[in-house]
Amino acid sequence: MSTTRRDALKVLAATTSLPFAAQGATEPKNFTAEEFAVLSRLSDLILPRTDTPGAVDAGVPAILDDAAGRSPALRNTLREGIASLGGAKFLTESEASQNQALRRISGLDGAAPTPFFTALKNEVIDAYYSTREGLVAELGYHGNVPLAEFPGCTHPEHQRLD
């Protein structure tokens, strides 16, 4: 085993434990452990932990694993994309160069975002903002509950016609 691969696996061990421990699950069903570790890292690069939970805190990688199970096309896109970033080696790179790599495929530098980036970002957003962490802790959603009255807008300044 090459050094880089061994290093990669070390990082992998450190990162994979989190989402599945959080979910109480054992291992990914539609990715290898290495791919899953990269996917987890990428999820957090897209929606990182700030003063609120990040994608990994919210269990997004496991949700992506399930989504890939339902869609072979998505699974392929994600696996190929992970490979194109260097696979497990990606995890040994510095945060700055990981961000750089993501930036190159994100469309921020002028070219169109790659299909992989778009698929990944869309899935991470859908997943994260459907969790309690993303919807409630981050965004402050508190809907879908029975109310006696619906107040609606209570701001006279919004209600003016002119």
């Binding site: 690069l45 897209i46 929606l47 990182p48 700030t50 949700i63 961000n99 993501l102 994100s106 469309g107 921020l108 970002k121 869309n122 957003i125 859908d126 903002y129 459907s130 969790t131 309690r132 993303g134 919807l135 981050e138 965004l139 402050g140 959603y141 508190h142 809907g143 879908n144 509950v145 029975p146 109310l147 006696a148 009255e149 619906f150 107040p151 609606g152 807008c153 701001h155 300044e157 919004h158 209600q159 003016r160 016609l161 002119d162």
Partner: protein, 548 residues
């Protein structure tokens, strides 16, 4: 396979139990008529609706192998054939109440102009009904089912004295109303068949905002709870669930004599004899049934010697524009659920003096999805990634505004439903082909629709999510199909008279949206209900007089 024939003869046999069939069953039974109703599905169990299951709870339930009720008919069970490159996205709910279990509840009166506009612009035939004739039925339907709304009375949107209190608009809706006002566009209170206070034993709504998953307390109108249950209580309604009608049978006299149908799951074939048949399987399924009813006297399908049935399919064009209003950016997050969907509506907009109007008919606008929703999929359209993206999404979350204009599609003879000569479903019923496209008029109208949206969002100083001018939803997406068995005063150009009675077969009535000569720019269900009530009043009177 087994063919079973019931010895009884139904007084009235209704096919379908959605808005149209439910109304027909309710109105006939309460007038003392015995009714048998065939429905392609069964009752949806409200106790099992996932109305209050939030996204993360839904995932946890699904992980345990649980599923929400499946309202929608899968295309794999009943494929719809379309020409290459011209999809038609047909949405069907088979089961008691049909699509009213999940409908958007927008309940708008058609205006006088909606009914007679074809007579003014010369495009196809006008309705044989006027607003004055329909108005008392709108009054009755609104009182029966409960429609919340304001006291607006607009040229293109007649008012009502019977609205229940409308829900207060959300912040974004007030801001859009103001912006529209600055752009010269009038916004009124939305009108929805949601009971905002207890009404005829239903509701009240508790503003959980989850109507699309079915309301577990039936606080919005659905045919099953509001019409079928009271009709069953009269003791004069018999419902045959899971009965897929295949053909209307006819006698030597050419009159309807019953219906041949299949058990949805058993696939057994049955016939049921009837003195009168009311077709209400929703526009497209009703049309398929009529075209497949080819008795000796009706080689082109029942009541279709003039080849009108199946033609003139018309729906609506629609698109979506999203933006964020500056006043609400980064502001507090409220519970914006309300009665789910917009609390405001834009009646048909025509620039002053019709300036620049180069199309026939018109468009109105809905605004679903204001403010804090149960997701943030708009974030996919913001650039980049990382903490900046996360911040950007959070900032915009309470400020989301959404514009959804609906435009009338003209009826055209070539937009049609036919039966495939070869392919059949599991029961041996021919599959239908939908051959439908929009034309120059709709493309010109779409331009105007985009301009109106842009003007409103511009006046709101909104940040607008990227869009492509001219883009339209896939055909069929508005779920407002009409025209394929239209009423009219000229029997050569229409299939039904003004009471939805077939010109050629007097004991056959078609009371759903298939009978509408035009699609208008509005959501049709309030009018389907009013019209089915009107038609079955006539039918009951004709029965009493011994004429049908």
């Amino acid at each position: 396979m087994q063919i079973r024939s019931s010895p009884e003869i139904a007084d009235v046999l209704i096919v379908g139990s959605g808005a149209a069939g439910g109304m027909a069953a309710w109105n006939l039974t309460r007038q003392g008529v015995n009714v048998t109703l065939l429905d392609a599905g069964e009752r949806f169990n409200r106790a099992r609706f996932w109305t209050h299951v939030r996204p993360w709870e839904r995932r946890a339930r699904e992980a345990r192998g649980l599923h929400p009720p499946e309202f929608y008919l899968q295309a794999s069970e009943q494929p719809v054939l379309t020409p290459p490159g011209r999809p038609f996205d047909l949405t069907r709910v088979w089961g008691r109440g049909g699509k009213t279990n999940v409908w958007g509840r927008v309940a708008l009166r058609y205006s006088d102009l909606n009914f007679h506009e074809p007579a003014l612009d010369g495009w196809e035939i006008p309705w044989p009904v006027t607003y004055a004739e329909m108005a008392p039925y709108y009054d009755r339907v609104e009182q029966l089912i409960g429609v919340c709304g304001g006291d607006d009375d607009e040229p293109f949107l007649p008012g009502s004295r019977y609205h229940l209190p409308p829900p207060n608009p959300r912040c974004g809706e007030y801001l859009i109303r103001r912006a529209a006002h600055h752009a010269g566009v009038k916004i009124v209170a939305g009108r929805r068949a949601v009971v905002t206070r207890e009404h005829n034993g239903h509701g009240p709504c508790h503003y959980c905002g989850a109507c699309g998953r079915g309301c577990d307390i039936a606080a919005f109108f659905n045919s099953s709870d509001y019409l079928l249950e009271p009709a069953l209580a009269t003791g004069r309604l018999t419902i045959v669930d899971n009965a897929v009608a295949a053909e209307i049978l006819t006698g030597d006299d050419g009159l309807a004599s019953g219906v041949r149908y299949f058990g949805r799951h058993s696939r057994d074939e049955h016939t049921l004899r009837a003195r009168r048949v009311v077709v209400a399987a929703s526009c497209v399924d009703s049309t398929r049934l009529l075209l497949n009813s080819r008795g000796a006297r009706h080689p082109n399908g029942i009541a279709n010697s003039n080849d009108v049935i199946g033609r003139y399919l018309c729906e609506q064009i629609r698109f979506h524009m999203y933006g964020f209003v500056p006043e609400l950016m980064g502001g507090p997050v409220h519970n914006d659920d309300g009665i789910s969907g917009a609390h405001i509506y834009m009646p048909r907009f025509v620039p002053p003096g019709g300036k620049g109007r180069d199309y026939l008919r018109g468009y109105g606008m809905q605004f679903w999805g204001f403010g804090a929703g149960a997701g943030a999929s708009f974030g996919k359209q913001l650039p980049g990634f990382g903490a900046g993206l996360k911040r950007g999404i959070k900032q915009r979350y309470p400020a989301l505004v959404a514009l959804h204009p609906y435009g009338e599609v003209l009826p055209r003879a070539d937009n049609r439903i036919t039966l495939d000569p070869v392919r059949k479903d599991a029961y041996g019923i021919p599959l239908m082909r939908i051959d439908y496209s929009i034309g120059e008029n709709e493309r010109r109208m779409a331009e105007a629709m985009y301009t109106t949206c842009e003007e409103i969002l511009h006046a709101a100083k909104a940040e607008v999510l990227p869009y492509q001018r001219g883009w339209l939803d896939v055909n069929g997406a508005a779920i407002h199909e009409h025209g394929t068995c239209r009423m009219g005063s000229d029997p050569k150009r229409s299939a039904l008279n003004k009471y939805c009675q077939a010109h050629e077969v007097k004991n056959l009535f078609v009371v759903d949206g298939a009978s509408f000569p035009t699609s208008t720019e509005k959501n049709p269900t309030l009018t389907i209900l009013a019209n089915a009530w009107r038609a079955t009043d006539y039918m009951a009177a004709e029965m009493a007089a011994g004429r049908v």
